[in-house]
């Protein structure tokens, strides 16, 4: 076997790639394409596909909820499948949002970390040796662009319909939307995203991030609270350590 490093591979920016992914996430065109059979096989699901009209209706319902959410907090469980691992890797954490431009993601297990974005500022905290350590990510200029995208999305502005093929399918306990990148350059990085919509079509049960090689990460959300007061300290991106979590999502409580 020979080394297969391609020294002529185009270089770019990691954050740029993630921005592109973000752009993909923020753009949900509707198409009448069938549900990808490979997608269903990957996660072991067999569902009846939605028509184009049903998908459009579903997206419309989801969009209506955007403007009604000013804050939220939710716990999550992450499942990760790596092709050469026999077992599923699990972690737990929580997500928080405060309109218009504050977000925070904490991981509780198997390690503790907290990422906070507040307007143009962002910071990552890591819990090491019994204490919190802040990492220098303050110069991440891309984050501001991300925040603008989030705000735009929250305002229901889906102005780029060129990136995704969106399909839908229904099973007894819910509905799935599958967002498949249209462009081959994106398909190299993400095979598809799958959003698990609850049976009442008013919320999300899960997010599946499927990679081209079959590895995937799935988030399952639970114990969420919508439009509840959240302390501003929760999103302080300049503090030496992340603020304490609300008791209802603090695993230490």
């Amino acid at each position: 076997m020979t080394m297969t490093i391609n020294m002529n591979r185009p270089t770019g920016c990691l954050s740029t790639a993630l921005i592109l992914l973000l752009g993909m996430l923020f753009s949900i065109p509707v198409s009448a394409q069938p549900v990808p059979s490979a997608a269903r096989e990957d996660v072991g699901l067999s569902m009846a596909k939605l028509s184009q009209a049903e998908v459009a209706s579903l997206l419309s319902k989801i969009e209506v909820t955007f403007l009604t959410t000013t804050s939220l907090g939710t716990a999550f469980e992450q499942e990760k499948k790596i092709s050469f691992f026999d077992d599923t890797i699990r972690s737990t954490g929580a997500l928080f949002f405060q309109s218009p431009d504050k977000v925070r993601m904490d991981t509780f297990t198997p390690f503790k970390t907290s990422a906070v974005a507040n307007g143009p500022s962002a910071i990552q905290y890591e819990f090491v040796n019994g204490g919190w350590r802040s990492l220098d990510t303050a110069t991440n200029g891309m984050l501001h662009a991300v925040m603008k995208n989030i705000i735009s999305w929250l305002q229901g502005k889906f102005n780029d319909a060129s990136l995704y093929q969106v399909t839908g399918a229904r099973k007894d306990h819910g509905t799935w939307l599958t967002l498949t990148p249209k462009k081959s350059e994106y398909q190299k990085h993400i095979k598809y995203f799958e959003l698990g919509i609850n049976k009442a079509v008013n919320g999300l049960d899960s997010i599946l991030i499927m990679l081209p090689d079959g590895d995937y990460t799935r988030y399952k959300f639970y114990n969420d609270r919508i439009n509840v007061p959240l302390s501003p300290d929760l999103f302080d991106a300049k503090a030496p350590a992340p603020a304490a979590l609300p008791p209802w999502l603090d695993p230490a409580q």
Binding site: T4, G12, C13, A17, T69, A115, L135, G141, D224
Partner: protein, 206 residues
């Protein structure tokens, strides 16, 4: 389980969290020759899989990611994938007895960096033998404490240019380091690895 009432928001938050964990662009790195090892010190079983929480600082910029590795020391193989907290893959490679196959590298990671740094450090940590070669005028040393490797270093004269420090506790397993700190002074490079999970793999499962 009660569902989250905003699909888009959740996705956005996940992406933002990932972004905030990453450096904002490719870090300029000069080519560097790493150490060549012929370590006979065994700190791991023959076959194992492990999960590393990695904090990488280069020239004052920091990123965190997770490394998932499956190792067969007898066959001299490593399979490795590095991902962000969100689940985006940074790079993925397979190494077998001197041959490296990179199956994926995100736009932020040059494949040569994977060879020069990620593989160099993984082979040192997991195989106790490095994929890199010593540069001229350097020597390597191992420091043992109670028959355990606690420090590996490469010196040029009196100057330590590359060090790996292994610390142990009972958290991971007997004889298994729970933290490995690698410093390459020529690049202002510091990689702290915390071992989050470690499992031996039976021979018939490898």
């Amino acid at each position: 389980m009660k569902p989250l009432n905003n699909t888009i928001l959740a996705l956005a938050v996940l992406i933002v969290a990932s972004l905030s964990a990453c450096v904002s662009g490719p870090v300029p790195l000069a080519p560097s020759l790493g150490p060549a090892l012929s370590l006979d010190q065994t700190i791991y079983p023959e076959r194992f899989r492990t999960i590393h929480r990695c904090t990488l600082s280069i020239k004052g910029r920091t990123m965190v990611f997770n490394g998932y590795l499956k190792v067969d020391r007898a066959l001299n193989t490593i399979k490795c994938v590095a991902q962000t907290d969100m689940g985006a893959t940074l790079f993925k490679y397979a190494y077998r007895a001197g041959d490296l196959t990179i199956s994926y590298a995100s736009p932020g990671f040059k494949p040569e960096w994977i060879e020069q740094f990620a593989l160099r450090d993984a082979t040192l940590v997991c195989l106790a033998r490095s994929s890199a070669t010593l540069s001229r005028g350097t020597v390597q040393e191992r420091i043992l404490n109670n028959a355990r490797l606690t420090r590996y270093l490469v010196r040029r004269g009196d100057t330590e240019i590359y060090t790996a420090t292994f610390t142990y506790s009972k958290a991971v397993g007997p004889g298994i380091p729970d933290t490995i700190t690698i410093i390459d002074k020529s690049l202002d490079y510091r990689l702290e690895i915390r071992v989050m999970d470690f499992k031996c793999i039976p021979e018939n499962d490898s």
